[in-house]
Homo-oligomer: 134 residues x 2
């Protein structure tokens, strides 16, 4: 089964603009074309795009992702780099989770703060109070 660019955009919740932009940035050298130039995506291309989206969601910039794609094209000689990169990404995600935990702490605290303030009708109950001072 092959897919057009708009089908892939829909599947991955991206725009066709974005997909063409990724292609221009060298993130999709594997996508085939019809004789007249129209992109034809196969299943494995969509899987690769999912990996790209995954890397993006770790905060990796597109230029770094391109490096990875280039390594993939280079074959087995780059296995170590690619492994190292994923280990690095794992660490990055773990750090993000840790940061979100801290963020959540403060947010929960603020939720409590406003809940009690609302009940009292005023923020003043938190003046000089432990809950107001983080």
């Amino acid at each position: 089964m092959k897919y057009s660019i708009s089908e892939v955009a829909q599947k991955l919740n991206l725009t066709v603009y974005t997909l063409r932009y990724y292609d221009k940035e060298g993130l999709m050298p594997f996508v085939e074309r019809t004789p007249n130039g129209t992109r034809l995506f196969k299943e494995s291309d969509i899987d690769a795009l999912k990996v790209i989206e995954c890397l993006k969601s770790t905060g990796m910039p597109i230029k770094e992702i391109k490096k990875f794609i280039d390594w993939c094209s280079d074959g087995d000689s780059t296995l170590q780099q690619r492994y190292d990169m994923f280990l690095e990404r794992k660490a990055a995600v773990e750090a993000q989770v840790e940061e979100l935990k801290q963020t959540m702490k403060l947010i929960d605290h603020k939720c409590e703060y406003y809940k009690t303030a609302l009940k009292a009708g005023t923020e003043n109950i938190h003046k000089d109070n432990k809950i107001g001072n983080i």
Copy 2:
């Protein structure tokens, strides 16, 4: 105890450029000035900046954060909005954690993929194999 802009920058791991930019965007209307215009940060200003950093790390854009700061200036009449906003942020962070879990799944999978490929010396062992096809 009062702090200069560069001290605050150091404390919060931001640049003075960033702090002045935040001020220009209306995120710090509470910071006092000396007669000649130099900013003087007090402890509570730093706490407020920590809340701003917290909101930023939930992915909230600066214009939205400004709305919150404005609500703070408006006093008790905006307690409900502020409470709702933090509930919304809580949901946003929970969604981010959920997404990171999915991301981590794929990354762990890829770590395994490359680990075994490295051991074998080639990616080919994953051709037509469950581990290669996500």
